[in-house]
Amino acid sequence: MDLQDFQKKIYPLRNKLFRFAKRFVERTEEAEDVVQEVFIKLWNRREKLDEYMSVEALAMITTKNICLDKIKVRRFPVDSLDDQRSFIETIPGETKADDSDLIYSIRQAIRSLPERQQTIIHLRDIEEYEYREIAEMMNMNENAIRVNLSRARKRIREILTNTKVYEYQRN
C-alpha cells in the first residue's frame, strides 16, 4: 500500500476516528492528535493491512487502544464545563440556547453508562455500524452487542425522563 492508496482508504475515516477518540479523551485537540497517531500506526503496518478483514475496524480498535493508554496516564480529569462549551462550539449548524442544556444532560446520561455500553452506543447510534462490524471491533458476539445496546438505550431514556420529571416538579 503506497501513500496514495493509504490516502484513499484511510484518510476518509478521519472524522469517524476523531469522534470516536473524542468520546474517550474529550478534548478536541487531543482527539486530533490521537487520529494522527492512528494514521502513523496503520502506516507502519501498511504491508499487512490487506490481510485484515476490515481496515476500518482495525482503525477503530487502534483509536480506542491509544485513547485508553492516554487516559491511563492522565493526572487530572478534564474540566467538564470547559468541555461542554467546546463541544457546543464545534457542532455545526444552529444551536439553540435551550437545546444546549438538553445536549448536556444527554451527554451526562451517556457518560454515566459503563464504558463498554458507551462505546457500543457510539458505534451504533452515532456511527451507524452493523452489529457484525461492532462485534468485530468490540471482540464480542453479536448477541452480546444487542443485549448491551438494549440496556444502554433504556438507561439513557430513563435518565432523561427522570431529569425532566425532576425539572417539572421543581417548577
Binding site: 501513500l3 478521519r14 472524522n15 487520529v35 449548524g93 445536549i103 452515532i126 451507524e128 438505550r153 432523561l160
Partner: protein
C-alpha cells in the same frame, strides 16, 4: 406511518432489534415537527446523535500534517533566528573546547618530569658516577683558572714588603714632624 407504529418501532429499538434502516427512519421522524409530548425525550436523543455525527476535525492543515508525518519529512521548520543562535552557540562551544585544550596542554608541559631510562641500578649508578666525574673534571678546569690569583697573591707579598718599608719611613717622618722629640733633644 402513524404514532402507534412509531411506538412499536421504538420498543424494538430499545430491545436492540431494529435494523439500520429502521433506525434511520426513527431519526428522520424525530427530526421533524409534530412530535407527541410523551415522545419528546426521544427527540432529544435522536437529534443529539444526528448532530454528533456531524462533528468533524476542524484543523484545515490536518491532511497535510498527516502527509508530512507519514513521509517522514519534519513537520516544523527551524526559523532563521533560531538557526542563527544555533550556529553561534556551536561556534562558542568550539572556542571553549580549543581554549581548554591549550590551557591543559601548557599545564602538562610544566608538570613534565623526566621519565626513568632504565630499571637497572648498576647502570644507573655508573651513569651517576659518570655524571659526577664530568662535573668534577669541569670544576677542576674552572679552578685552574683561579691559580692566576695565586700569582697575584705572590705579587701582593712583594708589595707588602714595600709597604713595610713605607711604614718605617712614615714612622721616621712622623718623628721628624714632632715638635719636641726626645731623640732630637
Amino acid at each position: 406511518m402513524n404514532i402507534k407504529e412509531i411506538e412499536k418501532l421504538l420498543e424494538k429499538y430499545e430491545e436492540g432489534e431494529t435494523t439500520l434502516q429502521e433506525e434511520q427512519y426513527l431519526k428522520g421522524f424525530f427530526n421533524g415537527t409534530d412530535i407527541p409530548e410523551n415522545l419528546q425525550s426521544y427527540r432529544t436523543i435522536f437529534s443529539y446523535y444526528s448532530r454528533t455525527k456531524k462533528e468533524h476535525i476542524s484543523d484545515p492543515e490536518f491532511e497535510r500534517k498527516s502527509d508530512r508525518r507519514l513521509t517522514g519529512t519534519p513537520v516544523t521548520r527551524i526559523n532563521f533566528k533560531k538557526q542563527f543562535t544555533y550556529i553561534f552557540s556551536f561556534a562558542a562551544s568550539i572556542l571553549i573546547v580549543i581554549g581548554l585544550f591549550f590551557t591543559f596542554r601548557q599545564d602538562t608541559m610544566e608538570k613534565d618530569l623526566p621519565q626513568p631510562v632504565t630499571s637497572d641500578p648498576a647502570y644507573a649508578m655508573a651513569e651517576v658516577e659518570d655524571a659526577l666525574l664530568s662535573v668534577s673534571v669541569n670544576l677542576n678546569i674552572g679552578l685552574s683558572q683561579l691559580q692566576r690569583f695565586e700569582t697575584i697573591g705572590e705579587a701582593l707579598k712583594s708589595i707588602q714588603k714595600f709597604s713595610k718599608f713605607y711604614q718605617y719611613q712614615s714612622m721616621i717622618i712622623n718623628q721628624d714632624l714632632q715638635p719636641i722629640t726626645p731623640l732630637n733633644q
